[in-house]
Point group: C2
Chain length 364, copies 2
């Protein structure tokens, strides 16, 4: 973003019009920061604000266009189209996105197209009929999907937790590879040397990316990624239990750690280890993925897990969309960082970072 590369510069494609992205590049800040600085909202250092205003002036950026669109904000609307059902992965995203847009006075229409192309078309027509100012497309799965065709490219579209088969689309995704590296490096730091990876079906891009992160972290530490230690199955507890039975059947050297592709697998694995008389984490450390409180906190012991920071993903989508509505031209796949939440399944004794949140409030 700080790199003022003219090859792909929007200013080159639209030579008469500097965009918010150009301003951001020149000022060496993010598009979101430019938006905050020019709209005088959000907490920014005066120095940053001044730098942005100087960059905008130098480029002849028309703050009027921005001012106008934000003056209109109270009548602005954005559509959210889920191409699958809204599920536990999309809801935090949609919720945070809605919150971020509401802070700008932008209202959100939600539509749920449930994988039915005819219904999706009908929903899109309905949203276009409402003259929405932007569209966010989300999905439970991370499969690539056909790009949404907006007549005349009259409004910006963002894909979040979802990928379009169009290189000009802006797609926001969690950084699965880096998330896996975090998990495996944590296990290596804890002295584990025989780390297995138990995960879901390879047709999910997330499985491939997380596996690559696992292999890369092992390689970097000079450890081997043994073929027998990589196990694909379902995204279920049962699959986690089955993998443990196979990994610990005595036919191979037993692992001293499991990095699991989701928390359900990790939970099943933890149960199966206990039933084999193995202690977690003393004999085998376990790390899951998703940081799904229902699974991670109820497991015995509670699971360390990689958090995809879905709310941050939703807020980022809101930021990007506001910038695009204001004229920024953003494209490509942007991967946002995951973080690791450490609990008792990977460190003896329990880390002081142990999450004390209870799930009681989630009922009934």
């Amino acid at each position: 973003m700080g790199d003022n590369d003219t090859t792909d510069s929007p200013a080159e494609r639209y030579p008469d019009r500097a965009t918010i992205r150009d301003v951001a590049a020149r000022a060496g800040v993010s598009v979101g920061t430019v938006s905050k600085a020019l709209n005088d909202n959000g907490r920014l250092k005066q120095e940053t604000r001044d730098k942005v205003i100087a960059a905008a002036n130098a480029l002849g950026f028309r703050p009027n266009a921005m001012a106008q669109s934000l003056h209109r904000a109270n009548s602005m609307t954005v559509g959210i189209l889920s191409t699958d059902s809204f599920g536990r992965f999309t809801f935090p995203i949609v919720e945070a996105l809605e919150e971020r847009l509401a802070e700008h006075g932008i209202a959100v229409f939600m539509c749920n197209a449930t994988d039915d192309p005819a219904r999706e078309k009908q929903h899109l027509d309905q949203l276009l009929g409402k003259r929405i100012d932007g569209l966010v497309v989300t999905a439970r799965r991370m499969d690539r999907r056909p790009a949404i065709a907006v007549p005349g490219n009259s409004m910006p579209v963002i894909y979040v937790f979802s990928q379009a088969d169009d290189p000009d689309a802006l797609c926001l995704l969690p950084d699965d590879h880096a998330g896996a590296v975090l998990a495996v490096e944590h296990l290596i730091d804890g002295g584990r040397k025989r780390i297995a990876h138990v995960t879901g079906p390879e047709r999910f891009e997330a499985v491939t990316l997380r596996h690559r992160g696992y292999v890369d972290a092992l390689t970097k530490a000079g450890l081997a990624a043994r073929a027998g230690y990589y196990r694909n199955g379902k995204w279920s507890e049962e699959s986690g239990r089955d993998a443990v039975v196979a990994l610990f059947d005595g036919s191979n050297e037993a692992p001293d750690a499991l990095f699991c592709g989701n928390d359900q697998i990790a939970r099943g694995a933890t149960d199966a280890l206990r039933e084999l008389g193995l202690r977690v984490p003393q004999d085998v450390a376990v790390v899951g993925f998703d940081n799904w409180d229902v699974m991670a906190l109820a497991a015995r012991p509670p699971l360390s897990s990689v958090d995809m920071n879905l709310r941050a993903l939703g807020r980022a989508a809101g930021e990007r969309l506001i910038a695009m509505i204001a004229g920024a031209r953003l494209k490509g796949v942007e991967r946002l960082p995951c973080s690791l939440v450490v609990r008792a399944s990977s460190v003896p004794p329990p880390s002081p970072k142990t999450d004390k949140k209870t799930i009681e409030e989630d009922h009934p």
Copy 2:
């Protein structure tokens, strides 16, 4: 609905105007059926349709008002306001509601007020500024909440999975009492005589209602509701495990069945029973509540559970709102039926009704 009681008849309160409710009462059908009949959509027998039209004519019901509002439908919008976060209970409701309204060409604005009254006010103002035609209020919890004040009562408001402290409000809720009766009668039908109830904190209305259903079903069967068999705790697996340890410590006669207030409690109870060497369901049958696939299907054995039919609740909210926008005046608490899904935790051998659905599709 079929009872033409004039005391509370809207026709009496608004003598110049027969409403859709009057038509429904006269025809002996539901408001939804009247809506379908007069709008010529939905599948109805011609006989039903004729009966509705005759009733509408006899009452001088102005089909024009309905026709007009439905002619306008393509420009109609409805707001959904969640006074808590959108959670796993509200997703299916909101999703089904949105689907039902979309079938009528009605678009949905979603707002999430997260328990913050100032933010709720801001959201409400924003929705009113959009000139929405109706409002649906939902929440994760079933606490009573202050009624939403719509200036001039200019549009209908429905509370779903949420209750307002206003007797004139229409509130749609699952029938917790009847759901509990279903569960306990199923256990009694299976020959169980010592049925314990392990549930959440009493401050939840659902806990009180389900407990009452449990007591009523036992009483009807001539069985005692023993004081020591009713255990309140948290909505967690750990709480379910703790309850089993206490119930089976030998100080009382051990139960032969557990009716649990949610599936997390039921799952924890099932794990603890297995660890005590007791077989589920041979020694102790277990029934949960919520029919939450993630918990119910991953438990060993899979859990029988009461399903609140949240999607049906969402669809019903859509139906009622459409009727109210068309002029129906509905009020009071309406409780919709739960159903019981039988799996291996309560019947040996596994019932043919066992749910084979996998949760694999829910990822990542």
